[in-house]
Protein backbone atom coordinates (compact mmCIF):
# COMPACT_ATOMS: atom_id res chain seq x y z
CA UNK A 1 0.00 0.00 0.00
CA UNK A 2 1.22 3.48 -0.81
CA UNK A 3 1.93 5.57 2.23
CA UNK A 4 -0.86 8.10 2.51
CA UNK A 5 -0.27 11.83 2.51
CA UNK A 6 -1.62 12.21 6.04
CA UNK A 7 0.48 9.31 7.38
CA UNK A 8 3.60 10.97 5.95
CA UNK A 9 2.61 14.33 7.43
CA UNK A 10 1.93 12.78 10.86
CA UNK A 11 5.36 11.12 10.82
CA UNK A 12 7.00 14.47 10.00
CA UNK A 13 5.11 16.22 12.78
CA UNK A 14 6.37 13.61 15.27
CA UNK A 15 9.95 13.79 14.01
CA UNK A 16 10.31 17.57 13.68
CA UNK A 17 7.57 19.32 15.69
CA UNK A 18 9.50 22.59 15.86
CA UNK A 19 10.28 22.85 12.15
CA UNK A 20 8.26 25.37 10.13
CA UNK A 21 5.48 23.73 8.12
CA UNK A 22 3.89 26.93 6.80
CA UNK A 23 4.75 30.58 6.45
CA UNK A 24 1.70 32.83 6.38
CA UNK A 25 1.76 36.62 6.59
CA UNK A 26 5.44 36.40 7.51
CA UNK A 27 4.76 34.15 10.52
CA UNK A 28 5.86 30.51 10.66
CA UNK A 29 3.48 27.74 11.76
CA UNK A 30 5.43 24.75 13.09
CA UNK A 31 4.72 21.11 12.23
CA UNK A 32 3.67 20.58 15.85
CA UNK A 33 1.18 23.47 15.78
CA UNK A 34 -0.23 22.49 12.39
CA UNK A 35 -0.62 18.91 13.58
CA UNK A 36 -2.48 20.06 16.70
CA UNK A 37 -4.79 22.20 14.55
CA UNK A 38 -5.39 19.29 12.16
CA UNK A 39 -6.33 17.00 15.06
CA UNK A 40 -8.88 19.57 16.28
CA UNK A 41 -10.21 19.95 12.78
CA UNK A 42 -10.58 16.18 12.60
CA UNK A 43 -12.74 16.16 15.74
CA UNK A 44 -14.83 19.01 14.36
CA UNK A 45 -15.29 17.20 11.03
CA UNK A 46 -16.32 13.94 12.73
CA UNK A 47 -18.76 15.82 14.94
CA UNK A 48 -20.34 17.80 12.08
CA UNK A 49 -20.45 14.87 9.67
CA UNK A 50 -20.94 11.65 11.61
CA UNK A 51 -21.66 9.58 8.49
CA UNK A 52 -18.17 8.48 7.44
CA UNK A 53 -19.43 7.21 4.08
CA UNK A 54 -20.56 10.58 2.79
CA UNK A 55 -18.21 13.27 1.52
CA UNK A 56 -17.76 16.61 3.27
CA UNK A 57 -17.90 19.93 1.46
CA UNK A 58 -15.22 22.53 2.23
CA UNK A 59 -15.50 26.20 1.36
CA UNK A 60 -12.29 27.92 2.42
CA UNK A 61 -9.90 30.69 1.53
CA UNK A 62 -6.21 30.00 1.81
CA UNK A 63 -4.94 30.13 5.44
CA UNK A 64 -3.16 27.82 7.92
CA UNK A 65 -6.60 26.93 9.35
CA UNK A 66 -7.79 25.92 5.87
CA UNK A 67 -4.72 23.69 5.43
CA UNK A 68 -5.47 22.16 8.86
CA UNK A 69 -9.09 21.53 7.90
CA UNK A 70 -8.02 19.58 4.80
CA UNK A 71 -5.56 17.57 6.92
CA UNK A 72 -8.35 17.00 9.48
CA UNK A 73 -10.59 15.50 6.78
CA UNK A 74 -7.73 13.24 5.70
CA UNK A 75 -7.13 12.16 9.31
CA UNK A 76 -10.82 11.33 9.66
CA UNK A 77 -10.60 9.25 6.48
CA UNK A 78 -13.24 11.39 4.76
CA UNK A 79 -13.49 12.31 1.14
CA UNK A 80 -14.05 16.01 0.62
CA UNK A 81 -14.94 18.42 -2.19
CA UNK A 82 -12.71 21.48 -2.35
CA UNK A 83 -14.13 23.90 -4.95
CA UNK A 84 -13.10 27.50 -5.58
CA UNK A 85 -14.60 29.79 -2.93
CA UNK A 86 -14.96 32.39 -5.67
CA UNK A 87 -17.74 30.50 -7.46
CA UNK A 88 -21.21 32.02 -7.08
CA UNK A 89 -23.56 30.41 -4.58
CA UNK A 90 -25.78 28.61 -7.12
CA UNK A 91 -23.05 26.56 -8.85
CA UNK A 92 -21.44 25.86 -5.45
CA UNK A 93 -24.69 24.46 -4.13
CA UNK A 94 -25.12 22.36 -7.27
CA UNK A 95 -21.58 20.95 -6.94
CA UNK A 96 -21.97 20.04 -3.25
CA UNK A 97 -25.30 18.43 -4.02
CA UNK A 98 -24.09 16.46 -7.07
CA UNK A 99 -21.19 15.15 -5.03
CA UNK A 100 -23.52 14.06 -2.22
CA UNK A 101 -21.85 16.14 0.49
CA UNK A 102 -23.46 15.60 3.91
CA UNK A 103 -22.46 19.03 5.18
CA UNK A 104 -20.51 22.07 3.99
CA UNK A 105 -17.84 23.26 6.41
CA UNK A 106 -16.20 26.66 6.32
CA UNK A 107 -14.00 28.90 8.42
CA UNK A 108 -16.36 31.86 8.01
CA UNK A 109 -20.11 32.11 7.74
CA UNK A 110 -20.89 32.58 4.06
CA UNK A 111 -23.56 30.68 2.12
CA UNK A 112 -23.68 27.79 1.33
CA UNK A 113 -21.59 26.96 4.46
CA UNK A 114 -23.67 24.87 6.92
CA UNK A 115 -21.24 24.83 9.81
CA UNK A 116 -18.40 27.16 10.75
CA UNK A 117 -15.41 25.41 12.31
CA UNK A 118 -12.24 26.82 13.86
CA UNK A 119 -9.26 24.50 14.10
CA UNK A 120 -7.27 27.23 15.87
CA UNK A 121 -9.33 27.03 19.06
CA UNK A 122 -7.90 24.58 21.61
CA UNK A 123 -10.37 22.22 23.25
CA UNK A 124 -9.60 21.19 26.86
CA UNK A 125 -8.14 17.73 26.98
CA UNK A 126 -6.71 16.88 23.60
CA UNK A 127 -6.28 13.36 22.32
CA UNK A 128 -4.10 12.35 19.43
CA UNK A 129 -5.59 9.18 17.96
CA UNK A 130 -3.85 7.78 14.88
CA UNK A 131 -5.28 8.82 11.54
CA UNK A 132 -8.04 6.59 10.19
CA UNK A 133 -6.64 3.94 7.86
CA UNK A 134 -7.89 4.22 4.28
CA UNK A 135 -7.45 1.96 1.26
CA UNK A 136 -5.37 3.06 -1.70
CA UNK A 137 -8.57 3.20 -3.73
CA UNK A 138 -10.54 5.31 -1.23
CA UNK A 139 -11.30 8.80 -2.51
CA UNK A 140 -9.78 11.65 -0.50
CA UNK A 141 -9.48 14.96 -2.40
CA UNK A 142 -12.21 15.94 -4.84
CA UNK A 143 -11.05 18.86 -6.95
CA UNK A 144 -12.86 20.64 -9.74
CA UNK A 145 -11.84 21.41 -13.30
CA UNK A 146 -11.60 25.07 -14.21
CA UNK A 147 -14.90 24.79 -16.12
CA UNK A 148 -14.59 27.55 -18.72
CA UNK A 149 -18.06 26.53 -19.91
CA UNK A 150 -20.85 25.24 -17.69
CA UNK A 151 -20.54 23.71 -14.24
CA UNK A 152 -17.03 22.56 -13.25
CA UNK A 153 -16.48 18.79 -13.30
CA UNK A 154 -15.68 17.07 -10.01
CA UNK A 155 -12.47 15.03 -10.13
CA UNK A 156 -12.09 12.49 -7.29
CA UNK A 157 -8.52 11.45 -6.40
CA UNK A 158 -7.75 8.29 -4.46
CA UNK A 159 -5.47 8.11 -1.46
CA UNK A 160 -3.04 5.98 -3.51
CA UNK A 161 -3.02 8.42 -6.43
CA UNK A 162 -2.18 11.34 -4.13
CA UNK A 163 0.46 9.33 -2.23
CA UNK A 164 2.18 8.22 -5.43
CA UNK A 165 2.16 11.76 -6.80
CA UNK A 166 3.72 13.31 -3.68
CA UNK A 167 6.43 10.64 -3.75
CA UNK A 168 7.27 11.47 -7.38
CA UNK A 169 7.21 15.25 -6.78
CA UNK A 170 9.39 15.13 -3.65
CA UNK A 171 11.93 12.95 -5.42
CA UNK A 172 12.02 15.04 -8.61
CA UNK A 173 12.29 18.49 -7.03
CA UNK A 174 14.23 17.60 -3.89
CA UNK A 175 11.41 18.51 -1.49
CA UNK A 176 12.54 17.54 2.04
CA UNK A 177 13.11 18.95 5.52
CA UNK A 178 14.60 22.43 5.33
CA UNK A 179 13.39 23.08 1.76
CA UNK A 180 11.05 26.05 1.27
CA UNK A 181 8.46 25.82 -1.51
CA UNK A 182 6.40 28.76 -2.78
CA UNK A 183 2.65 28.17 -3.10
CA UNK A 184 1.13 30.67 -5.52
CA UNK A 185 -2.08 28.89 -6.55
CA UNK A 186 -5.32 29.04 -4.55
CA UNK A 187 -5.81 26.02 -2.28
CA UNK A 188 -8.40 24.37 -4.56
CA UNK A 189 -6.01 24.19 -7.57
CA UNK A 190 -4.39 20.91 -8.57
CA UNK A 191 -0.99 22.66 -8.49
CA UNK A 192 -1.24 22.54 -4.67
CA UNK A 193 -0.68 18.76 -4.83
CA UNK A 194 2.93 19.68 -5.48
CA UNK A 195 3.61 22.91 -3.65
CA UNK A 196 1.41 22.44 -0.55
CA UNK A 197 0.67 18.76 0.00
CA UNK A 198 3.93 17.19 -1.19
CA UNK A 199 5.85 19.72 0.87
CA UNK A 200 3.90 18.91 4.05
CA UNK A 201 4.27 15.15 3.48
CA UNK A 202 8.03 15.43 3.09
CA UNK A 203 8.89 17.89 5.84
CA UNK A 204 9.49 21.08 3.85
CA UNK A 205 8.10 24.57 4.44
CA UNK A 206 5.21 25.94 2.37
CA UNK A 207 5.49 29.69 1.85
CA UNK A 208 1.85 30.59 1.20
CA UNK A 209 1.15 33.51 -1.14
CA UNK A 210 -1.86 35.55 -0.02
CA UNK A 211 -4.09 35.49 -3.15
CA UNK A 212 -5.25 39.03 -2.35
CA UNK A 213 -1.70 40.24 -2.92
CA UNK A 214 -0.89 37.80 -5.73
CA UNK A 215 -0.55 40.58 -8.32
CA UNK A 216 2.02 42.54 -6.32
CA UNK A 217 5.43 41.92 -7.87
CA UNK A 218 7.41 43.30 -4.93
CA UNK A 219 5.49 41.22 -2.37
CA UNK A 220 6.17 38.04 -4.36
CA UNK A 221 9.86 38.79 -4.75
CA UNK A 222 10.21 39.51 -1.02
CA UNK A 223 8.49 36.24 -0.12
CA UNK A 224 10.96 34.27 -2.23
CA UNK A 225 13.98 36.18 -0.98
CA UNK A 226 13.06 36.51 2.72
CA UNK A 227 12.17 32.84 3.17
CA UNK A 228 14.96 31.42 1.00
CA UNK A 229 12.48 29.67 -1.28
CA UNK A 230 14.06 26.83 -3.21
CA UNK A 231 11.17 25.56 -5.35
CA UNK A 232 8.92 27.96 -7.30
CA UNK A 233 5.95 26.57 -9.20
CA UNK A 234 3.39 28.72 -10.95
CA UNK A 235 1.49 29.96 -13.97
CA UNK A 236 3.20 32.33 -16.46
CA UNK A 237 1.77 35.37 -14.62
CA UNK A 238 3.85 34.57 -11.51
CA UNK A 239 7.04 34.47 -13.55
CA UNK A 240 6.15 37.68 -15.33
CA UNK A 241 5.66 39.45 -11.98
CA UNK A 242 8.90 38.05 -10.55
CA UNK A 243 10.75 39.18 -13.69
CA UNK A 244 9.38 42.72 -13.27
CA UNK A 245 10.33 42.84 -9.60
CA UNK A 246 13.86 41.52 -10.11
CA UNK A 247 14.61 43.77 -13.10
CA UNK A 248 15.81 46.44 -10.69
CA UNK A 249 16.77 44.50 -7.57
CA UNK A 250 18.75 41.78 -9.32
CA UNK A 251 18.12 38.05 -9.61
CA UNK A 252 16.85 35.77 -6.85
CA UNK A 253 19.62 33.53 -5.54
CA UNK A 254 17.84 30.81 -3.58
CA UNK A 255 15.52 29.05 -6.09
CA UNK A 256 16.94 25.79 -7.40
CA UNK A 257 13.92 24.47 -9.28
CA UNK A 258 11.39 26.61 -11.12
CA UNK A 259 8.39 24.86 -12.60
CA UNK A 260 6.18 26.31 -15.34
CA UNK A 261 2.68 24.95 -14.94
CA UNK A 262 -0.95 25.49 -15.76
CA UNK A 263 -0.54 27.22 -19.10
CA UNK A 264 1.82 27.40 -22.04
CA UNK A 265 4.73 29.75 -21.36
CA UNK A 266 4.71 32.75 -23.77
CA UNK A 267 8.06 33.61 -25.38
CA UNK A 268 8.33 37.03 -23.79
CA UNK A 269 7.67 35.72 -20.27
CA UNK A 270 10.21 32.96 -20.78
CA UNK A 271 12.82 35.48 -21.90
CA UNK A 272 12.40 37.28 -18.57
CA UNK A 273 13.03 34.12 -16.53
CA UNK A 274 16.73 34.15 -17.53
CA UNK A 275 17.38 37.23 -15.45
CA UNK A 276 14.99 36.38 -12.60
CA UNK A 277 16.85 33.44 -11.05
CA UNK A 278 20.61 33.15 -10.75
CA UNK A 279 21.00 29.38 -10.60
CA UNK A 280 17.63 27.62 -10.97
CA UNK A 281 16.88 24.66 -13.21
CA UNK A 282 13.75 25.19 -15.33
CA UNK A 283 11.02 22.65 -15.93
CA UNK A 284 7.99 22.67 -18.17
CA UNK A 285 5.37 20.61 -16.35
CA UNK A 286 2.54 19.06 -18.32
CA UNK A 287 -0.55 17.73 -16.60
CA UNK A 288 -4.16 18.33 -15.66
CA UNK A 289 -6.47 17.82 -12.69
CA UNK A 290 -7.69 14.45 -14.03
CA UNK A 291 -4.27 12.75 -14.32
CA UNK A 292 -1.92 15.15 -12.54
CA UNK A 293 1.51 15.40 -14.19
CA UNK A 294 2.26 13.09 -17.08
CA UNK A 295 5.19 14.69 -18.91
CA UNK A 296 8.16 16.77 -17.80
CA UNK A 297 10.69 18.75 -19.78
CA UNK A 298 13.80 20.29 -18.33
CA UNK A 299 14.76 23.36 -20.35
CA UNK A 300 18.34 23.45 -21.62
CA UNK A 301 19.23 27.06 -20.84
CA UNK A 302 22.37 26.97 -22.99
CA UNK A 303 20.37 26.53 -26.16
CA UNK A 304 18.15 29.12 -27.87
CA UNK A 305 14.71 29.23 -26.25
CA UNK A 306 11.82 28.26 -28.49
CA UNK A 307 8.14 28.42 -27.70
CA UNK A 308 5.97 26.52 -27.22
CA UNK A 309 8.31 24.66 -24.89
CA UNK A 310 8.27 20.91 -25.45
CA UNK A 311 6.46 18.89 -22.79
CA UNK A 312 9.34 16.44 -22.89
CA UNK A 313 9.28 12.88 -21.70
CA UNK A 314 6.68 10.79 -19.89
CA UNK A 315 7.16 10.28 -16.15
CA UNK A 316 7.89 6.77 -14.89
CA UNK A 317 4.74 4.67 -15.01
CA UNK A 318 2.97 6.92 -17.52
CA UNK A 319 1.47 5.24 -20.62
CA UNK A 320 0.49 7.38 -23.59
CA UNK A 321 -0.83 7.37 -27.14
CA UNK A 322 -1.24 9.99 -29.83
CA UNK A 323 -4.39 9.47 -31.85
CA UNK A 324 -4.36 10.80 -35.42
CA UNK A 325 -7.31 11.91 -37.51
CA UNK A 326 -8.09 8.32 -38.49
CA UNK A 327 -8.58 7.42 -34.82
CA UNK A 328 -5.50 5.21 -34.73
CA UNK A 329 -2.32 5.58 -32.75
CA UNK A 330 0.60 7.34 -34.50
CA UNK A 331 3.54 5.10 -35.23
CA UNK A 332 5.99 7.87 -36.11
CA UNK A 333 6.33 11.65 -36.06
CA UNK A 334 3.06 13.48 -36.57
CA UNK A 335 0.17 15.28 -34.93
CA UNK A 336 -2.85 14.13 -32.95
CA UNK A 337 -4.68 14.13 -29.64
CA UNK A 338 -2.70 13.00 -26.60
CA UNK A 339 -4.14 10.19 -24.45
CA UNK A 340 -2.43 9.39 -21.15
CA UNK A 341 -2.65 6.99 -18.26
CA UNK A 342 -0.77 7.98 -15.12
CA UNK A 343 -0.20 6.42 -11.68
CA UNK A 344 -1.88 9.56 -10.27
CA UNK A 345 -5.03 9.39 -12.35
CA UNK A 346 -8.65 9.92 -11.28
CA UNK A 347 -11.13 7.08 -11.87
CA UNK A 348 -13.51 9.51 -13.60
CA UNK A 349 -15.76 12.50 -13.00
CA UNK A 350 -18.39 12.40 -10.28
CA UNK A 351 -20.88 14.64 -12.07
CA UNK A 352 -20.20 14.22 -15.81
CA UNK A 353 -20.18 11.40 -18.37
CA UNK A 354 -16.91 9.48 -18.52
CA UNK A 355 -17.39 7.04 -21.38
CA UNK A 356 -15.63 9.22 -23.95
CA UNK A 357 -13.03 10.80 -21.70
CA UNK A 358 -11.83 7.88 -19.61
CA UNK A 359 -11.68 4.73 -21.73
CA UNK A 360 -9.40 1.99 -23.04
CA UNK A 361 -8.13 2.39 -26.63
CA UNK A 362 -7.80 -0.40 -29.21
CA UNK A 363 -4.17 0.62 -29.82
CA UNK A 364 -3.34 0.96 -26.12
CA UNK A 365 -2.45 -1.54 -23.43
CA UNK A 366 -5.41 -3.92 -23.05
CA UNK A 367 -7.88 -2.83 -20.37
CA UNK A 368 -5.86 0.24 -19.42
CA UNK A 369 -8.01 3.36 -19.04
CA UNK A 370 -6.65 6.36 -20.92
CA UNK A 371 -7.66 9.94 -20.32
CA UNK A 372 -8.31 12.00 -23.45
CA UNK A 373 -6.46 15.21 -22.74
CA UNK A 374 -8.14 17.26 -25.48
CA UNK A 375 -4.66 18.58 -26.29
CA UNK A 376 -3.28 18.33 -29.79
CA UNK A 377 0.42 17.47 -29.71
CA UNK A 378 3.21 17.10 -32.22
CA UNK A 379 5.54 14.13 -31.91
CA UNK A 380 8.92 15.28 -33.21
CA UNK A 381 11.61 13.21 -34.94
CA UNK A 382 13.67 13.09 -31.73
CA UNK A 383 10.73 11.68 -29.73
CA UNK A 384 9.96 14.95 -27.90
CA UNK A 385 6.38 16.20 -27.69
CA UNK A 386 5.00 19.71 -27.85
CA UNK A 387 1.45 20.91 -27.37
CA UNK A 388 -0.16 22.73 -30.31
CA UNK A 389 -3.48 23.63 -28.71
CA UNK A 390 -6.86 22.27 -27.67
CA UNK A 391 -8.83 19.97 -29.96
CA UNK A 392 -11.73 22.39 -29.43
CA UNK A 393 -9.80 24.99 -31.45
CA UNK A 394 -8.98 22.77 -34.41
CA UNK A 395 -10.65 23.74 -37.68
CA UNK A 396 -10.26 22.83 -41.31
CA UNK A 397 -9.26 25.62 -43.68
CA UNK A 398 -9.13 24.56 -47.35
CA UNK A 399 -8.48 21.00 -46.22
CA UNK A 400 -5.68 21.91 -43.80
CA UNK A 401 -6.09 21.26 -40.10
CA UNK A 402 -5.37 24.53 -38.30
CA UNK A 403 -5.35 25.37 -34.59
CA UNK A 404 -6.67 28.88 -34.04
CA UNK A 405 -4.77 28.86 -30.72
CA UNK A 406 -1.44 28.29 -32.41
CA UNK A 407 -2.19 31.12 -34.87
CA UNK A 408 -2.87 33.40 -31.88
CA UNK A 409 0.44 32.32 -30.41
CA UNK A 410 2.28 33.17 -33.61
CA UNK A 411 0.68 36.62 -33.72
CA UNK A 412 1.45 37.19 -30.02
CA UNK A 413 5.09 36.36 -30.67
CA UNK A 414 5.28 39.55 -32.77
CA UNK A 415 6.64 42.27 -30.48
CA UNK A 416 4.02 44.81 -31.62
CA UNK A 417 1.03 42.62 -30.70
CA UNK A 418 -0.38 43.01 -27.19
CA UNK A 419 -3.53 40.90 -27.47
CA UNK A 420 -4.79 38.51 -30.14
CA UNK A 421 -7.92 36.50 -30.77
CA UNK A 422 -8.28 34.27 -33.81
CA UNK A 423 -11.73 32.96 -34.59
CA UNK A 424 -12.91 30.56 -37.28
CA UNK A 425 -15.94 31.59 -39.32
CA UNK A 426 -17.87 29.16 -41.47
CA UNK A 427 -17.08 29.54 -45.16
CA UNK A 428 -18.93 27.79 -47.98
CA UNK A 429 -15.77 27.40 -50.06
CA UNK A 430 -12.91 27.03 -47.60
CA UNK A 431 -14.81 25.24 -44.82
CA UNK A 432 -13.58 27.87 -42.40
CA UNK A 433 -11.81 31.15 -42.72
CA UNK A 434 -9.83 32.79 -39.97
CA UNK A 435 -10.46 36.25 -38.64
CA UNK A 436 -7.87 37.79 -36.34
CA UNK A 437 -8.63 40.66 -34.00
CA UNK A 438 -5.57 42.30 -32.53
CA UNK A 439 -4.66 45.07 -30.17
CA UNK A 440 -1.20 46.50 -30.71
CA UNK A 441 1.13 47.72 -27.98
CA UNK A 442 1.35 51.03 -29.91
CA UNK A 443 -1.39 52.04 -32.30
CA UNK A 444 -0.14 52.08 -35.89
CA UNK A 445 3.27 50.60 -35.06
CA UNK A 446 2.77 47.80 -37.55
CA UNK A 447 0.34 47.06 -40.38
CA UNK A 448 -1.26 43.83 -41.54
CA UNK A 449 1.32 43.49 -44.33
CA UNK A 450 4.17 43.03 -41.86
CA UNK A 451 2.06 40.76 -39.65
CA UNK A 452 1.26 38.59 -42.68
CA UNK A 453 4.95 38.34 -43.51
CA UNK A 454 5.61 37.40 -39.87
CA UNK A 455 2.99 34.61 -40.11
CA UNK A 456 4.14 33.38 -43.51
CA UNK A 457 7.62 32.79 -42.10
CA UNK A 458 6.16 30.61 -39.33
CA UNK A 459 3.16 28.69 -40.59
CA UNK A 460 1.30 27.33 -43.61
CA UNK A 461 -0.76 29.64 -45.77
CA UNK A 462 -4.08 28.18 -44.64
CA UNK A 463 -3.26 29.29 -41.08
CA UNK A 464 -2.79 32.94 -42.06
CA UNK A 465 -6.00 34.80 -41.19
CA UNK A 466 -7.98 36.05 -44.18
CA UNK A 467 -8.79 39.19 -42.20
CA UNK A 468 -6.46 40.87 -39.72
CA UNK A 469 -8.39 43.51 -37.84
CA UNK A 470 -6.78 45.98 -35.44
CA UNK A 471 -8.68 47.46 -32.51
CA UNK A 472 -7.66 49.95 -29.86
CA UNK A 473 -9.86 48.76 -26.97
CA UNK A 474 -8.72 45.80 -24.86
CA UNK A 475 -10.24 42.51 -26.06
CA UNK A 476 -13.24 41.27 -24.06
CA UNK A 477 -12.38 38.66 -21.42
CA UNK A 478 -14.34 35.93 -19.64
CA UNK A 479 -14.72 35.79 -15.86
CA UNK A 480 -11.64 33.54 -15.70
CA UNK A 481 -9.56 36.14 -17.54
CA UNK A 482 -9.36 34.37 -20.89
CA UNK A 483 -10.01 36.22 -24.14
CA UNK A 484 -13.72 35.84 -24.87
CA UNK A 485 -13.56 34.38 -28.38
CA UNK A 486 -17.30 33.60 -28.44
CA UNK A 487 -18.17 37.23 -27.90
CA UNK A 488 -15.73 38.37 -30.56
CA UNK A 489 -17.10 35.80 -33.00
CA UNK A 490 -20.70 36.93 -32.43
CA UNK A 491 -19.62 40.54 -32.92
CA UNK A 492 -17.73 39.81 -36.17
CA UNK A 493 -20.63 37.77 -37.57
CA UNK A 494 -23.10 40.54 -36.75
CA UNK A 495 -20.91 43.12 -38.49
CA UNK A 496 -20.64 40.91 -41.58
CA UNK A 497 -24.41 40.46 -41.74
CA UNK A 498 -24.83 44.20 -41.46
CA UNK A 499 -22.43 44.75 -44.37
CA UNK A 500 -24.16 42.07 -46.46
CA UNK A 501 -27.47 43.92 -46.06
CA UNK A 502 -26.02 47.15 -47.39
CA UNK A 503 -26.12 47.45 -51.17
CA UNK A 504 -22.71 47.32 -52.79
CA UNK A 505 -21.70 50.49 -54.63
Amino acid sequence: MTRSLVASFTARAAAQPGAPALVWEDRPVSYGDLYAMAVRARTQVEEAAPDADRPVGLLVRKSPEAVALVLGCLMAGRSFLLPSHELPEAPLKALFQQTGCAVVLGLADAPPVDRVVDPAVAMGCEEYPPAAAVDDEAVTFMLTTSGSTGLPKVVPLSSGAVGRFTEWAADTFGIATGVAVLNYAPLNFDLCMLDVWTTLAYGGTVVLVDPDRGASAGYLRDLVADHAVSVVQGVPMLFQLLAEATAESGPLDTPEHVIFAGDSMPARVLAGVSTTFSKARWYNNYGCTETNNSFLHEVDQDRPLRTPLPIGRPLAGVRWLIIGQDGRSLTGPGQGELLVNTPFQSAGYVNAPNAKTFAPHPDGAPGLVYYRTGDVVTLHEDGALSVIGRTDYLVKVRGFQVSTQSVEQILLDHPAVAEAAVIALPDPVAGHRLHARLRLTDVGSVNSLSLRLHCSERTVRAAIPSVIEMVTDPLPRTSTGKVDRNRIKACVLAAEEERARMPRP
Binding site: N447, S448, S456
Partner: protein, 98 residues
Protein backbone atom coordinates in the same frame (compact mmCIF):
# COMPACT_ATOMS: atom_id res chain seq x y z
CA UNK B 1 5.68 61.83 -77.17
CA UNK B 2 4.96 58.89 -79.39
CA UNK B 3 6.72 55.60 -79.94
CA UNK B 4 8.09 54.64 -83.30
CA UNK B 5 5.03 52.62 -84.10
CA UNK B 6 2.93 55.67 -83.38
CA UNK B 7 0.98 54.12 -80.55
CA UNK B 8 0.45 56.22 -77.46
CA UNK B 9 2.15 54.75 -74.35
CA UNK B 10 -1.10 54.99 -72.40
CA UNK B 11 -2.63 52.66 -74.87
CA UNK B 12 0.23 50.21 -74.60
CA UNK B 13 0.44 50.32 -70.85
CA UNK B 14 -3.18 49.84 -70.18
CA UNK B 15 -2.94 49.39 -66.48
CA UNK B 16 -0.47 50.73 -63.93
CA UNK B 17 0.93 49.13 -60.80
CA UNK B 18 -0.64 51.93 -58.79
CA UNK B 19 -4.09 51.05 -60.05
CA UNK B 20 -3.59 47.40 -59.17
CA UNK B 21 -2.21 48.27 -55.73
CA UNK B 22 -5.21 50.52 -55.04
CA UNK B 23 -7.62 47.74 -55.94
CA UNK B 24 -5.83 45.03 -53.95
CA UNK B 25 -5.66 47.23 -50.87
CA UNK B 26 -9.26 48.36 -51.14
CA UNK B 27 -10.57 44.84 -51.53
CA UNK B 28 -8.24 42.78 -49.35
CA UNK B 29 -6.25 44.98 -46.96
CA UNK B 30 -8.55 47.47 -45.31
CA UNK B 31 -6.04 48.74 -42.71
CA UNK B 32 -3.31 49.60 -45.25
CA UNK B 33 -2.67 52.64 -47.48
CA UNK B 34 -2.08 51.64 -51.09
CA UNK B 35 1.29 53.37 -51.08
CA UNK B 36 2.47 50.98 -48.37
CA UNK B 37 2.03 47.94 -50.60
CA UNK B 38 5.35 47.12 -52.22
CA UNK B 39 4.88 45.97 -55.86
CA UNK B 40 6.92 42.85 -55.04
CA UNK B 41 5.05 41.95 -51.81
CA UNK B 42 4.10 38.27 -52.07
CA UNK B 43 0.30 38.27 -51.89
CA UNK B 44 0.07 34.49 -52.00
CA UNK B 45 2.40 33.20 -49.27
CA UNK B 46 1.09 35.88 -46.92
CA UNK B 47 -2.50 34.82 -47.53
CA UNK B 48 -3.75 38.20 -48.82
CA UNK B 49 -5.36 36.47 -51.78
CA UNK B 50 -6.34 32.86 -52.43
CA UNK B 51 -7.87 31.26 -55.51
CA UNK B 52 -11.07 33.16 -54.88
CA UNK B 53 -9.03 36.38 -54.71
CA UNK B 54 -7.45 35.53 -58.06
CA UNK B 55 -10.90 35.33 -59.63
CA UNK B 56 -11.93 38.64 -58.06
CA UNK B 57 -8.89 40.39 -59.51
CA UNK B 58 -9.45 38.78 -62.91
CA UNK B 59 -13.05 39.91 -62.89
CA UNK B 60 -11.99 43.45 -61.99
CA UNK B 61 -9.42 43.48 -64.82
CA UNK B 62 -12.11 42.40 -67.26
CA UNK B 63 -14.87 44.74 -66.10
CA UNK B 64 -12.89 47.89 -65.39
CA UNK B 65 -10.04 47.56 -67.87
CA UNK B 66 -11.28 45.31 -70.64
CA UNK B 67 -8.44 42.87 -70.04
CA UNK B 68 -9.77 39.35 -70.43
CA UNK B 69 -7.56 36.56 -69.12
CA UNK B 70 -8.01 33.07 -70.45
CA UNK B 71 -8.19 29.91 -68.33
CA UNK B 72 -4.50 28.90 -68.51
CA UNK B 73 -3.50 32.34 -67.23
CA UNK B 74 -5.74 32.18 -64.20
CA UNK B 75 -3.14 30.48 -62.05
CA UNK B 76 -2.24 31.78 -58.62
CA UNK B 77 1.40 32.19 -59.68
CA UNK B 78 0.36 34.86 -62.21
CA UNK B 79 -1.08 36.93 -59.35
CA UNK B 80 1.77 36.60 -56.85
CA UNK B 81 2.43 40.33 -56.53
CA UNK B 82 1.28 43.66 -57.91
CA UNK B 83 4.16 43.52 -60.39
CA UNK B 84 3.27 39.98 -61.51
CA UNK B 85 -0.38 40.92 -61.95
CA UNK B 86 0.57 43.78 -64.19
CA UNK B 87 2.90 41.58 -66.25
CA UNK B 88 0.09 39.05 -66.62
CA UNK B 89 -2.34 41.74 -67.74
CA UNK B 90 0.19 43.07 -70.26
CA UNK B 91 0.72 39.80 -72.08
CA UNK B 92 -0.63 39.76 -75.63
CA UNK B 93 -2.65 36.62 -74.89
CA UNK B 94 -4.57 38.74 -72.43
CA UNK B 95 -6.24 40.35 -75.40
CA UNK B 96 -4.36 43.52 -74.54
CA UNK B 97 -1.81 45.42 -76.56
CA UNK B 98 -2.36 43.86 -79.95
Amino acid sequence: MTTESGIEPEELIRISEDQIARFVVERFLSDVEWTELDPDYDLLTTGVIDSLGVLQIASWLAKQHGITLTGPELTAGNFRSVRTIRATAERPQAGGAA
